[in-house]
Symmetry: C2
Subunit: 541 residues, 2 copies
């Protein structure tokens, strides 16, 4: 074995020397040691007359009857004695000097070597000030940006700033450009070790964007990278991140356990950017529609998991800034790549993200002299737009109605404070959502998740959630929200149905909302595009 | 291409002939046709001066500007015309005779050939009468059986009864015996094509038990098998079925869509048996503890998904009988392999499974003269045992308390009738769980799932759920339920905390429960096993 190790290490040194001093070696054949031993080697060769050592029977407990079977007990003793414990331990059971002599000390101990405790090597990631990347917002909803494209500009700078340190990577299943992050290619190409053709673009032997159409490999790469004290981001189509459900389970379990070990240094968080999301799979359709990864991670240890749904570009920048700097978390960010209205200035976005959930006073009819009649809440970019359009319709058709508009960017805020570090205290939640007024909540994913988070809240019986109900297909963007009852017209109908006294008085408004939905239905079949009043909709305060 | 197909088909025929007439050919080299074509072949060779055909640029939309760019439009027309549509379609746009001549008819049409519409071949699975396999239950809780082991006997008969038809298989990640289903080996060995050694057992060239330590492969095998009109069961460790989350998503989506196609014949359901579950990972610990697959599938189309938690052996038989006969569903059965008390006779089990959720009158204090003071509900084998032990403690310590014991085997019964085909009508739910009494619900998995299912129920604000809170480790069986507050003592404390008037009167009982939990804590540290009163507990009516 020692001889084989020597050969392998010499070969590695030679490959490194040739590459570093002479350059140009492509895809060397790294040495592989194949060690083949009998299964259950040195264990009992036979038990109860059946062969064990070297067979599949060694896979489990080879001597299952030691409590009751004298022969099993005798064989166990014989096996244990074959290790000659008297040479290894003294009469008090302590390891002898010759054993301890081989135990490493100082920085070579398992808990102290940066090879095993990668957090010791972690350096703060140079995330630049956001001001340079933030989009200007003179008034809400006047401009549109693709949030992930702007994030790409920020990530390009992070990539540049780490070009010497080389401790930041972006992994993804061949979707960096599809997810609109291609600006990063200006700072780093895609890692590529094979042949490069004339027609290829952005390939780089030393690239720190790592693409492979295997979510499993991306997850494995990034976990290993973070565990060795470095930083990264996994950008993925929302529906297909379920491929790594089982892997992220184990990473979260690992973080939960290791956070409690005082000697283990924190590592960078595992950051997911889920984009190309459920509401904008206009061409791919049902197979690409699944917002359930959030549900999956929210079952896991609250001290580890964080979920963010930034509703526009500046909030995405603020969330990215926070998550990239954070430690020991699994952060899930859900954000679209399609043009999205800019609602908040950078300062507003920072404040909104810091509080995690808050009132957008300019969108509702806030008036300190009266309580709202209804709360319209949104979480996610598409639901937020529908909430604002619904608020606008209400202002137009039912101007006397007091409407509060709330946006939730940090989903765990909905949990009780005792259930999650980000959980909102009851008094604050009650003040925001009221104890007794209808709350119409437009949510990005499966609606029952919001109930699962908020079921303990005082006003839960007044909470009505709209979201994705697994009704998917290839259709127009607005038709997706209509089919799932998340559209602005449906939200207005929900308000009319829930606010006491409106049902009769506002029956005509409700009817006109229903009519518009029917008109939508007919229009998309004839034109293949959304109603002009929807496609061209803008916010007017 | 035709030449290559001829060579391949001849080679296949030759392999089959040799094997069938001469026997004994191991692992033939099946022909593989490698077809290598330029990417985007016959599409535009250059667009905007950049090469497209034969390059990565063909991967997406090669001519993105046809609406605004005249040159793109011209290239698109040229490309489309290269297929010579005038030869394929007549002036009214209908395919010409020469095209239609090649279209298959009758049973060779895509929707009519059993190669594509496998349900046409489906035969009823010969599930034997359950009487022979059911365990005798003279009184509840007097005997113990390993539920999956008894199920194995039933499956052996199914395997035998299909030995000629060969249309039933069991797949699993090398866990058939570990999950206690090894009786099936008497009827069919494990499929094995490679070398067989003297020491090997249960291997068979034609075996219909298919084991491979890859949940992905198991899922793929079974999906293909069902889609071709046959039957099967996937037995898996509960925690690791998450590996196929993304695959089962697509199968459920496929079933949801195809159920609505009148020409598509139903196929056998995809049946999961999840065992080696969260509560009995005494040796494997935290990494093997995850009951969240149920949460994952319950996000999906209600017309497709069914979840069963049989609390004992006879209920498992009844659930298995139903699911193996069913069509077009994804059935998830969660059942333990450890010794479990037998609660119900076969007849009782059938009635209980048919109603999906019901009162166990013998376990509570049912009295038609009064309403219960509290409902103790359980779902899952381990929670059911804790519920019964709690009911017994209540009877002993608070004999005046009217306790209803409810067991839920079909989880979707908790949903409103309008949300799931198995959803329980409101009046029935209210009668079972009451509208206004505390319900202490001991659930097998993440507790918030029960809230997500029942949040619309009248009495939801009185529903208090205990379950797995992601507090896992390697410990004794009872310590797992104590750590997650699912144990009998905690349930009794919950009753005392929730039933009006008990808090003060029964404070001494509550204190003794707390004391027992503390005693448990000390005992397991000293002895490594559970308290004798827990380990030796039996039900006494």
């Amino acid at each position: 074995m020692a001889h084989a190790m020597d050969i392998a290490l010499d070969r590695i040194t030679e490959i490194q020397r040739t590459a570093r001093q002479e350059g140009g070696i492509d895809r060397p054949l790294w040495p592989v040691i194949v060690l083949r031993t009998p299964k259950g080697w040195t264990g009992p060769s036979e038990v109860d007359g059946l062969p064990v050592e070297g067979t599949w029977r060694s896979h489990q407990v080879p001597l299952a009857g030691v409590r009751d079977n004298g022969e099993h007990l005798r064989q166990l003793e014989q096996w244990m004695r074959s290790y000659r414990p008297e040479e290894l331990f003294d009469e008090r059971g302590r390891p002898r000097e010759q054993v301890l002599a081989g135990v490493p000390d100082g920085a070579r101990r398992l808990g102290s070597t940066p090879h095993a405790n990668g957090g010791l090597l972690l350096r703060e990631l140079p995330v630049p000030p956001l001001e340079k990347y933030a989009v200007a917002v003179d008034k809400p909803g006047a401009t549109l940006h693709e949030p992930t494209r702007v994030l790409g500009d920020l990530l390009e700078t992070v990539m540049s700033a780490t070009s010497e340190r080389r401790d930041f990577r972006i992994v993804g299943p061949d979707e960096t450009a599809s997810n609109r992050l291609q600006a990063v290619y200006a700072a780093s190409g895609k890692a590529w070790q094979a042949e490069m053709l004339e027609v290829d673009e952005h390939l780089d032997r030393h690239g720190r964007v790592m693409e492979i159409l295997s979510e499993h490999t991306c997850q494995g790469w990034l976990e290993g990278y973070l565990l060795t004290g470095r930083h990264g981001l996994f950008s993925c189509y929302e529906a297909f991140v379920h491929i790594v459900d089982s892997m992220v389970n184990q990473h979260i379990k690992w973080l939960r356990v290791t956070r409690r070990l005082p000697w283990r240094a924190p590592i960078a968080s595992l950051n997911y950017l889920l984009t190309s999301h459920v509401w904008r799979q206009d061409h791919n359709g049902f197979s690409h529609q699944d917002p359930g990864f959030v549900d999956h991670v929210l079952n896991k240890s609250p001290e580890v998991v964080r979920v963010y749904l930034p509703p526009d570009t500046n909030t995405l920048l603020s969330v990215a800034d926070h998550t990239l700097r954070s430690r020991d978390y699994v952060n899930v960010i859900v954000a679209g790549k399609q043009p999205c209205f800019d609602w908040l200035t950078l300062d507003q976005a920072r404040a909104h993200c810091a509080r995690g959930a808050g009132i957008w006073p300019w969108a509702g009819t806030e008036d300190s002299a009266r309580e709202p009649d209804v709360v319209l809440a949104g979480a996610g970019d598409v639901p937020t737009q529908e909430v604002l359009a619904a608020a606008q319709l209400l202002r137009q058709h039912l101007p006397e109605l007091a409407v509060r508009v709330v946006n939730v960017v940090d989903l765990a805020r909905l949990l009780p404070a005792e259930e999650h570090p980000h959980g909102m205290p009851a008094a604050q939640y009650d003040a925001l959502f009221t104890q007794d007024k209808p709350v119409i909540f437009a949510y990005h994913g499966y609606p029952w998740l919001i109930h699962r988070l908020a079921y303990r809240r005082t006003g839960h019986h007044n909470l009505h959630v709209r979201g994705y109900k697994e009704i998917g297909t290839t259709t127009t963007p607005f038709d997706m929200v209509v089919r799932n009852d998340l559209d602005r017209y449906r939200l207005v109908m929900d308000v009319i149905d829930r606010v006491p006294g409106l049902a009769v008085r506002a029956a005509d408004v409700r009817q006109s909302m229903e009519d518009t939905r029917l008109r939508h239905h007919a229009w998309i079949r004839e034109h293949g595009t959304d109603l002009p009043e929807v496609a061209d909709w803008t916010w007017t305060a």
